[in-house]
């Protein structure tokens, strides 16, 4: 989830009020130096370009038969891509991987990201040759099983959300938002209605306004109540013939359910607009509440959140969009349909005419994230309807446990208004002068935890958004709470030690301002004099 960057400060956003800048090594670092820079199992690793060679390779290939070249005279000479033998490559990436934190290592309570356990069965199923080794353009009679997976998953998503249809091809949540807004725009155009405005709460995730703008809409804010909810009255007041849609996140980014969602939807529909629901937080209500019952017209589902396809260090994801009866006809191509005879078909442009005439078109080259569909369906079949409801309940239980175990020591701006959903939110109010959320986060790193989401949503000062998910044990939560309590106390007491954190991580705090001011985005072979030791030592890049 969104993190503070010093460059943001220049954007005038108070993301890191401490204005921290890297300082000289502090007394806390160990005095024992090693020749290699390694610290036992904490290993330094040079860049591929410092250890690889153009003449080295980790593959053997049979030699190509010599023969005529048909390359149209565009032969290339040289690409300067270093290679590694397999032993070196396995080590390079294994050593690098060890510099990462991950769910498999411990609690990863990034609010809004739903970092839950990724079952290994899902990985195994996605790798069955019948799914992993088939081509998207194979004749459909040769991929009936794959189409069945897509179709079965589609119906699960429809049934779980109580919606009318689903577009499976969007590649991630943001892509799903785009899909939803395009459906809305197509529906409006179909009735010759050219509305220009999309309303988005200030607390919304950045992708909401970005997506609306991308579709050519003007974005306006929806004010919030002091309970952290949408201000229904203000919203009603703003609704009108120019409002194409409102985008609402429910449960919202403060981790709260919008109790008036149905009223909101009714009001928007009454004003001729559509309701887009950001489903990133579906995990809190899956199997417990059907968004269809809330009057939602479109909602993306991040399969990489609620349905546990691995985040993979930033992706890939998958963002199917469930659609209301009003929007379903406008959904994109292609989609997998099941026929009376039990057979499956991928409906593409070709048959769109008869079967799906109002489709707004195609969003991706092929059929979406098959590899994620297989994993998500495996996850869903494993949990079943009962297990999924339990997922929602445990995720909410874990979050409330954290909220109530910390509210006495950390400011919890919305705690007074009742239980939270799957996320507990805190602010940095009460910290000593010059201390902020980032200091708490970095101290958590030394404690062996991944920090929570920092400085998001923007409506809470120095926000700390904690989402434990349902796959954490009570023992883990208790240890996390103990660590966070002690850190909070230090932040309130103004313990300078916090500013030095992290001291045990592979790197101390990094200078993001330098990175942005003099961007070095690709490796440049250092000048002959440049003393790159090849041992991961710093060299004057950029």
């Amino acid at each position: 989830m969104t993190a503070a960057t010093d460059t943001d400060v220049k954007e005038g956003k108070p993301l890191n009020p401490t204005g921290w800048r890297p300082s000289a090594p502090t007394a806390l670092e160990s005095t024992a130096q090693t020749v290699t820079g390694n610290r036992a199992l904490m290993l330094e690793e040079p860049l591929l370009f410092e250890i690889g060679s153009r003449n080295q390779t980790g593959v053997d290939l049979e030699a190509a038969k010599a023969g005529a070249s048909r390359l149209g005279g565009l032969e290339r000479n040289g690409l300067d891509l270093p290679g590694l033998s397999e032993p070196e490559a396995v080590r390079h990436y294994t050593r690098l991987s060890r510099q990462n934190y991950a769910i498999d290592l411990g609690l990863f309570p990034l609010g809004s990201c739903t970092m839950k356990h990724n079952p290994r069965l899902n990985e195994k199923m996605a790798r069955l040759p019948g799914f992993a080794d088939i081509h998207p353009l194979q004749p459909q009679e040769t991929v009936q099983g794959a189409l069945e997976v897509i179709n079965r998953l589609a119906f699960w998503l429809i049934d779980l959300t109580g919606m009318h249809g689903v577009a499976m091809s969007p590649k991630a949540g943001a892509h799903g938002e785009l899909c939803g807004l395009l459906c809305i725009r197509a529906a409006l155009e179909a009735r010759g209605d050219a509305r220009q405005v999309v309303l988005v709460p200030e607390s919304a995730h950045g992708t909401n306004p970005a997506t609306a703008a991308f579709c050519g809409y003007r974005v306006e804010n929806i004010p919030a109540t002091k309970e952290g909810r949408v201000n229904l009255e203000a919203l009603k007041a703003r609704l009108g013939p120019d409002v194409a849609a409102v985008m609402i996140t429910n449960p919202n980014t403060c981790g709260l359910f919008e109790p008036q969602m149905k009223e909101i939807s009714d009001a928007v529909h009454a004003a001729g607009g559509f309701v887009y629901c950001d489903g990133a937080n579906f995990n809190a209500i899956v199997g417990k509440v059907k968004p269809g019952d809330l009057g939602v017209d479109a909602m993306h589902i991040n399969l990489h959140k609620t349905f546990s396809t691995p985040h993979g260090g930033g992706g890939p994801g998958s963002g199917p969009v469930v659609l209301s009866e009003a929007l379903a006809p406008f959904g994109p191509l292609p989609f997998a349909a099941r026929y009376a005879d039990g057979g499956f078909k991928m409906v593409e442009e070709e048959h769109a005419g008869d079967e799906h005439p109002e489709a707004f078109g195609r969003m991706v080259a092929f059929h979406g994230q098959m590899g994620m569909f297989t994993r998500a369906l495996t996850y869903i079949l494993s949990h079943g309807a009962d297990g999924l409801a339990q997922v929602a309940e445990d995720s909410v239980l874990n979050a409330n446990y954290i909220l109530r175990s910390l509210e006495d020591i950390l400011d919890a701006p919305f705690a007074f208004s009742g239980p939270c959903m799957h996320e507990a939110i805190f602010s940095d109010r009460g910290f000593a002068e010059g201390f902020s959320t980032i200091d708490v986060a970095k101290a958590l790193i030394d404690e062996g935890f991944h920090p929570m989401t920092m400085y998001f949503p923007l409506v809470v000062h120095g926000a700390m958004l904690v989402e434990p998910t349902e796959t954490e044990s009570k023992a883990n939560l208790d240890q996390f709470i103990a660590a966070l309590r002690s850190i909070a106390e230090r932040a309130k007491a103004g313990d300078e030690g916090l500013k030095a954190a992290p001291v045990y991580a592979p790197r101390r705090r990094l200078d993001e301002t330098l990175a942005a001011r003099k961007p070095v985005l690709a490796y440049k072979t250092p000048a002959p004099d440049g003393s790159s030791t090849g041992l991961g030592a710093h060299f004057g890049g950029g």
């Binding site: 460059t7 956003k13 370009f49 390779t57 190509a64 010599a66 005529a68 070249s69 048909r70 390359l71 565009l74 891509l81 290679g83 590694l84 990436y93 690098l96 991987s97 510099q99 990462n100 934190y101 991950a102 990863f108 069955l128 080794d133 353009l137 004749p139 991929v143 009936q144 794959a146 069945e148 699960w156 590649k171 995730h205 992708t207 579709c215 050519g216 359910f257 149905k262 509440v289 059907k290 985040h311 890939p316 998958s318 994109p332 092929f366 949990h383 309807a385 009962d386 297990g387 309940e393 909410v396 790193i445 920090p451 349902e470 954490e472 009570k474 992290p502 990175a515 985005l521 710093h538």
Partner: protein
């Protein structure tokens, strides 16, 4: 439930701490009647790992596996042999189950990989900088057109008829809503590409020219004249590469003057996977970097002066810039980028060049043998590992007929351009290192029969 650590005792102990009598009390904000009592009706309940494995395996068995038959499909997705170590490494929990590296002190693994990926992609495509990946080639292509609009402040994109028709559809979809105008045409079964037409079409309104290289028929054109013509009129050249392995042997678009080079990275490290997840490659000139979509990893130093990496220039991105962002992309294709990077590291220049040579040699051999079949014409005079045949019969039924013989014999243009008569006899054949002598023989035999 094997995935849920809380015991009943834990749950009640926690409720006590919270001060609630039941979990449903925590859902009190949900209006009455909307909170479901019990599991969603009509859906199955939880199942054992063994049962789920059987269910999925049964569906998997219904598909014809590329690796188990003579296989010749391409058109934007290619089957190559991926070393076993790639899949082993991307399954390291520290890569697989990490999030976007927002806490750089404990994400140096992912960040260094992205920095290396960016460098590899830039060098492969012949550009100065690349980003940390897009969803796939088709969305990268669209984002490039949008970026060209922002840079040139013009909105007419001239699309080569050699661009993958699905990519064209994606661009058309988006253009409908952003007001870009796209000049598109259908391809012709001809050895000559539409380079000249494109050059002629460029005018003062043009934001960019979009050319696929090698193109949908496998043809290879020199991009230099197009780049010069475009730049002369203040437009950008966007090159699209769907088979990056080709760049082990043919000039990179960047080397020929392309301003933005996008690509589908699937064929290196990722695998077929029925169309996704894949990995979009996106590279350009350093001077355009602040208009670039997507994440960027950059080098910096830590408090001890040690080299480290962070996500940077995020003021282009939605999470900072919101409605003013260069793109709405958030989650990208990180793990596929890792697979791409590992495979390319194993190959290196030496391996990639050998691999490309092997692909080309196999393709040349196949082209020769297949075009010798009576009535079959080879459309291309240039190609890398993919070429187009004109059959004496309609290609689409021919493909289905070959399936009956257990051969996945290429992609028919009837599938890609439904209803276009002039193309219906066209068959696109991709031949990579996985196609053995026997496979090519099987295709030859099958095609001979169906062409009678």
């Amino acid at each position: 439930m094997r995935y849920l650590p809380l015991s009943e005792d834990d749950r009640s102990a926690m409720l006590t701490t919270i001060g609630a009598n039941s979990v449903d009390e925590l859902f009190r904000d949900v209006p009455d009647g909307l909170l479901l009592k019990g599991p969603v009706a009509g859906l199955p309940l939880h199942a054992s790992e063994m049962a789920v494995e059987r269910d999925l395996s049964a569906m998997a068995r219904k598909n014809m596996v590329a690796g188990e038959v003579p296989f010749f499909l391409g058109c934007g997705a290619y089957k190559h042999h991926v070393p076993a170590s790639v899949d082993h490494l991307i399954q390291r929990g520290e890569f697989l189950t990490a999030y976007t590296p927002y806490q750089p002190e404990i994400a140096q693994g992912t960040l260094q990989v992205l920095f290396e990926f960016q460098t590899q992609v830039a060098r492969l495509l012949g550009c100065e900088v690349a980003n940390a990946s897009m969803y796939d080639g088709s969305t990268a292509c669209w984002e490039a057109i949008g970026m060209a609009r922002r840079i040139t402040r013009k909105s007419k994109a001239i699309i080569s008829s050699g661009l993958h028709p699905h990519y064209v559809s994606v661009c058309r979809t988006m253009a409908k809503f952003t007001g870009d105008t796209l000049a598109t045409e259908l391809p012709a079964l001809d050895a000559k590409t539409d380079a000249e037409r494109l050059i002629a079409a460029i005018d003062g309104e043009t934001s960019c020219v979009v050319v696929q290289y090698p193109d949908i028929f496998g043809r290879i054109t020199d991009l230099t004249p197009i780049a010069e013509a475009a730049q002369a009129k203040g437009a950008l050249l966007i090159a699209v590469v769907t088979e990056p392995v080709a760049l082990g042997l043919v000039k990179a678009p960047g080397e020929m003057g392309a301003d933005i080079v996008v690509g589908e990275g699937q064929s290196i490290g990722v695998g077929l996977q029925f169309g996704g997840p894949y990995v979009g490659l996106f590279a350009t000139r350093e001077k355009y970097v602040r208009q670039m979509p997507g994440r960027l990893a950059g080098e910096t130093v830590d408090a001890e002066g040690k080299r480290g990496f962070v996500l940077t220039l995020s003021t282009r991105e939605q999470h900072i810039r919101r409605e003013k962002a260069t793109s709405n992309i958030c989650t990208n294709s990180g793990l596929c980028a890792l697979a791409f990077s590992i495979h390319l590291t194993l190959l290196g220049e030496k391996g990639l060049t050998e691999l490309a040579k092997l692909n080309h040699a196999r393709a040349c051999e196949a082209a020769e043998r297949l075009s010798a079949i009576p009535g079959v014409r080879l459309v291309n005079d240039s190609f890398f590992n993919e070429f187009t045949l004109e059959l004496p019969v309609e290609a689409r039924p021919a493909v289905h007929a070959m399936v009956e013989k257990g051969v996945l014999g290429g992609v028919s243009l009837g599938r890609l351009y439904p209803g276009v008569d002039a193309l219906k006899n066209g068959l696109v054949i991709a031949v990579t290192e996985v196609a053995s002598e026997e496979d090519i023989g099987a295709l030859e035999a099958a095609l001979k029969e169906v062409c009678q």
